[in-house]
Symmetry: C2
Amino acid sequence: MTTANRQRIIVQKYGGSSLANEQMIRANAARICKRKAQGYNIVVAVSAMGDTTDRLLALAQRLAGDQLPPPREADALISTGELVSAALMAITIKEQGHDAISLSGRQAGIRTDNAYGSARIAHIDTQRVRREIERGRTVVVAGFQGLTATDDTTTLGRGASDLTAVALTAALTAERCEIYTDVDGIFTADPRLVPEARILPRIGYQEMLEMASLGAKMNPRSIELAAVHKVPMLITSSFNDQSAGTIIRDWEEDGKNMEIRKVITGIATESNIARITLRGVQDRPGIAAALLTPLVNESISVDVIVQNVSADGRTDFSFTVKEDQLRRAQEIAAEQKQVEYAELIARHGYAKVSIVGVGMQNAPGYAARMFQALADADVNIEMITTSEIRITCIVEQRSVGIAARALHQAFELGED
Amino acid sequence: MTTANRQRIIVQKYGGSSLANEQMIRANAARICKRKAQGYNIVVAVSAMGDTTDRLLALAQRLAGDQLPPPREADALISTGELVSAALMAITIKEQGHDAISLSGRQAGIRTDNAYGSARIAHIDTQRVRREIERGRTVVVAGFQGLTATDDTTTLGRGASDLTAVALTAALTAERCEIYTDVDGIFTADPRLVPEARILPRIGYQEMLEMASLGAKMNPRSIELAAVHKVPMLITSSFNDQSAGTIIRDWEEDGKNMEIRKVITGIATESNIARITLRGVQDRPGIAAALLTPLVNESISVDVIVQNVSADGRTDFSFTVKEDQLRRAQEIAAEQKQVEYAELIARHGYAKVSIVGVGMQNAPGYAARMFQALADADVNIEMITTSEIRITCIVEQRSVGIAARALHQAFELGED
């Protein structure tokens, strides 16, 4: 690289709602150009405009009739949405006086396995991106996609343009990855449920991962990848330039901050959960695997799993799935003839409420405080599951707001 | 190839209006499957659905502001339309029970020069297409696009999915190239102007090329390519299965047909022509080049060119352009200070009427018959230009229908 271009690289990612119309594309191009003028090299990863991906998938589904669209063709189809955004963004940046080039995932060197629809990035050959940067160009990469070793286009899964951005940040050893989205940052709780929720100025990877898995609008795989490669991320709004956003990085390295941090970082909520309970299951080894493997094989995401203590060789076994997968999950569970049980109960109308915080693993008593707060708010707990840095309760859907507000208050998250 | 797949290949092409909605995609997939069931291997080239390309270009133009969208980015953008069609067609063929795969122009091995927006095919590496055929798959190729030696996507020019189809037919030594479109075939004249026009069951490459250049809805470059590689083509309707269509091939090789053919094959018309005349131009060598080169350099398509016999060192020089290029052509012509002239007259409201037929080159008197027919119909001839197999008159736009009908009758084209 020439000296002039040895300057630092920043990767920015713009989601579909940030590219929903021409006005938004222009505003974001202006932000990119401003940053470029500050002396950074900018690499941009873009999603498809607005609801493009959903519209293309719906069309494919209608043409595929009773079947699912073949995954390879579905990927060839929906990957076009990001190509459109990338070219339009490059055109707009050029119009604003800075040189730019759009690259497909393939051209940006993103190589994946061949798991169509949810491919994993194998490696990134950054040669072309670096060459374009050396030429002084802002590089706009179509997010969400890559190429298999057999020269076919894959997509990385819903919301995976974040993943493209994080992977490029790591591969280019860029300074940081800025995710521009339609929220101002990561909140202590869902502000639609908890009006007093506030933006977290900073959060660690592990906590963010729990928050993301538990309903925050972030792609958990991108957080995982960022954690592995220690990619600092900024989550901020493309609609509100006043928002400082949330920085995600390894705060644990920073001893001083550790001391003054709250133990609980935030409340995560997820709605539209269904529960399947098998009562009177014969309690023998392998029963959980026998039940759950067929579900996982059909891409049903089994979430909270609880098995009660066995009494007289029989046990109750419960798990949750997303509401729209309940019917299929129920059918599959019922088909497992090798599992003997007395009764299968399927019910929807649940939600998950979790408290998340790395401090928890060293500080006891948080579970008790959580259950007490929910009891005081008259919220019934249906199931409980814990990890080192979170505690999750399944509650009735209609109680989710009350529960989130009660916990937000109990753990004093509304205060700086 | 295994014996089972040594069977013959047919290339079919479906244009945008043939893919405008789900119903059309299904109907065309059914035609493809039927042909496959008859024992052919099918390779399909598709255009973008309906007005997709125009919509994408309009969006790019709005974002590019006063400038034209950068050609590389415009190509990256509009090439996505064909990717969408190809994937949807492959999905639909599979739904109808036949294996299929979509390939981008790149994946189909189509390599071009780097003239973005009107790239020329350098060669086709058919390896992948052949491999997919061997697997028993119908191969759906995104038309209109290719890849440069520097790994960038190009497009081949408006209407160039025909070109993709012809080039694939030649490269695969396929049996023939079938173009499915929204007309029943090639007519003796535009049926909107000449109600008694009928479909030509057959036409030679040279005549078709003249017809195509003179307004028939065909891509002239695809006809040229077909002529060079002796690719037999069928032009027929995707809306009307009763249409037998028009076969384009080298009929000259077929002595018997030659004898019974009419000398005039058809009447070609093109509307919305403008004329620029420079009166009193100083008549010296190089004057035509000095005038026309700057126009061609700005991609203004100069068509009929007429220079009158010089009188006392001064001459009149006229040429036609498309009406929507008149203003720019006029500006450029006026800027050529090295060309001295007395007066520049720009006028729109003209049309071209041509008679086309390979027989003409050996049979005199057709020009006289043409001019007489137009005179009898009271149509004034503004300019005349001829080639070996056609005679073209520029007439007033409002006379084009009368002129076409008069010529159609004079040369007995309505009769079998």
